[in-house]
């Protein structure tokens, strides 16, 4: 429901500009061909593929555990949830049950990852719109999460922190204490950032009523994750098709009402708090026991096909595996959340100003590594 395109100067010339792919506000190598009338957007056409690495082709020659590091590089701000999707799919294809301790470790890693991903989103989105300060504060917190990851698996960004059948390592001594320390102080930080933005007059002017998409349109365009919830659809894979032990922890699925950039901002801020809540429950409940199920040395799923999805920070991240009984997948397709969310961009910016295009790209929270694969 974008505003009608009214051309202020009907006899003026339309102008077409290429926005990106090397523009810092496009969050990577996204190129948008924008047709403008003055500052109004008549048509926007995203052009993608600059980061295409043929990941799905590479999957076909990798073993299942060997494919996990490649998933780190899809949405490189959320490696843990990417791992979680792939190992979950293979486990369901083989009928493996994951030990509860491993499942709880996975949930903690995934929720910390959601916080870390939303932190990047908040910092860069605010920076794009002109609020420079939150960027510095947010990245300070992200650093603490990356330290926790480094302590667990040695890596900070491309984690490779899950295996088919469970977890590669148990938690190091003292990790839970440091994790608890982090989540205890974190809600105060979120409140601090909200203090900078939520009632900030400039922030509200730049985000309220910008990039509006209705709930029906959002479903039609296949949006998932915060962009869908911002339009008021209560939809979260963790609730609809619970995996790991998400059915045992309590959390809310925040939704917006207007489907604009401001509501999506509020949804993500609340999601960070809910993730803290989940991590805290995991820390309280995590049982002792093994972290890896009894799995064969060579992972050879039976013939068959499966689709399994997790709620990534960006939306529904799905893996579709077709196995013909060999140690490498016949086909491993990724259902990328960002790719499909980005498709709605032209709908969401038509009739708005160029500056709003930046806001909408930011609010969709795209990562080109996942879009181009």
């Amino acid at each position: 429901m974008s505003p009608e395109v009214v051309r202020p100067f009907p006899d003026s010339e339309e102008m077409e500009i290429s926005f990106g792919p090397q523009h810092p506000a496009t969050h990577g190598v996204l190129r948008v061909m924008v047709k403008l009338d003055g500052e109004k957007i008549i048509e926007a056409k995203p052009i993608i593929g600059y980061l295409h690495r043929g990941t799905e082709k590479i999957f076909e020659r990798e073993t299942y555990n060997g494919a996990i590091p490649h998933t780190d590089r899809l949405d490189y701000t959320a490696a843990a949830t990417n791992n979680q999707g792939l190992v979950g799919a293979v486990e369901r294809l083989m009928g493996i049950t994951v030990p509860p301790r491993a499942a709880y470790i996975r949930m903690m890693l995934a929720e910390l990852q959601r916080i870390a991903s939303h932190i990047i989103w908040l910092g860069t989105h605010a920076l794009d719109i002109g609020a420079q300060t939150p960027f510095f504060y947010t990245f300070q917190e992200r650093e603490k999460i990356l330290d926790l990851y480094e302590e667990y698996c040695g890596a900070r960004l491309t984690l490779n922190c899950m295996r088919v059948g469970g977890q590669p390592f148990d938690l190091p001594a003292g990790w839970t204490d440091r994790c608890r320390e982090f989540i205890d102080q974190f809600p105060a930080r979120v409140a601090e950032w909200e203090g900078l933005l939520t009632n900030n007059r400039i922030w509200k002017q730049r985000t309220i009523g910008v990039g509006v998409i209705s709930a029906a349109d959002a479903i039609e365009w296949g949006l998932t994750g915060p962009p869908l919830r911002g339009s008021g659809v209560r939809w979260d894979i963790r609730k609809v098709f619970p995996y790991d032990h998400y059915d045992e922890v309590e959390f809310e699925v925040p939704t917006g009402a207007h489907g604009d950039t401001y509501d999506r901002y509020l949804v993500r801020m609340e999601e960070m708090r809910q993730s803290v809540r989940i991590v805290r429950q995991c820390l309280d409940r995590i049982p002792d026991g093994p972290v890896l199920a009894k799995v064969p040395k060579v992972i050879k799923p039976p013939k068959g096909e499966i689709y399994f999805s997790v709620e990534g920070p960006k939306g529904e991240l799905g893996y579709y595996i077709v196995s013909n009984g060999e140690a490498t997948p016949h086909r491993l397709h990724v259902r990328p959340a960002c790719f499909i969310n980005l498709q709605a961009l032209p709908e969401m910016v038509r009739g708005y100003l160029v500056a709003d295009l930046i806001a909408v790209i930011g609010t969709l929270d795209i990562v080109l590594g996942e879009i181009d694969r």
Binding site: W221, K294, E305, Y320
Partner: protein, 205 residues
């Protein structure tokens, strides 16, 4: 506790937790009678060529000629408003058609998902479903780009991940994994489409 046994009771052989057992993989089962399949069969005649359920997911094989009708009925009458995923699988050696095109739909009311599958031969055009689900637009472009499957009636069937002038379809099984030297389309006289840089005299470098 009079009849307490004299020997210390053996720990009753506690069933091992499932993660210590050998995993039991799911088995495919015929799903023609499954309610989600029966609904479709009732609405569209000759729509269900085969139906399999595997690991709790139902797959319906639809003849290519009925695909548009089935998708339309699923969206409008059966409430599958959300097309989650659309992709293809290459079975190069298969006699009854090289490609599987796979549609994975969701309905919010009942939280159910259903997979439609169409088997087509190389070079056969499928009807586009962009008129039914808008989200299919980029998904079909990706399938076209990666597999070379044509979708009739698509508003803008262009390559999406590779560039214009790229030769070949990377996810086909006969496309070499190390890639092909395609040149760069922006300098067509130096790098002609589909080939590497040319030496003088037209020989590839």
């Amino acid at each position: 506790m009079a009849d307490e046994p004299k020997v210390a009771p053996q720990e009753p052989a506690a069933p091992k937790p499932p993660w210590e057992e050998k995993p039991v993989p799911p088995v495919p089962a015929d799903a023609r009678e499954h309610p989600q399949v029966a609904e479709i069969a009732a609405l569209v005649p000759d729509a269900v060529a085969d139906a399999v359920s595997f690991a709790g997911q139902v797959t319906v094989v639809v003849p290519a000629a009925r695909l548009a009708d089935v998708c339309r009925a699923c969206k409008d009458k059966l409430d599958y408003k959300f097309l989650v995923d659309l992709t293809a699988v290459d079975w190069k050696e298969r006699a009854e058609g090289r490609f599987d095109v796979v549609y994975w739909m969701h309905r919010h009311g009942k939280s159910q998902r259903l997979r439609l599958k169409v088997r087509i031969a190389d070079g056969v055009e499928l009807p586009s479903v962009t008129g039914i689900w808008k989200v299919a637009n980029w998904m079909e472009r990706e399938v076209f780009d990666m597999f070379g499957i044509y979708f009739g009636g698509h508003p803008n069937l262009e390559r999406i991940l590779t560039w214009e002038g790229f030769n070949g379809h990377p996810l086909r099984k006969d496309f070499p994994i190390e890639g092909i030297d395609t040149g760069a389309a922006i300098y067509p006289d130096v790098y002609p489409p589909g080939g590497g840089p040319k030496k003088e005299g037209g020989e590839p470098a």
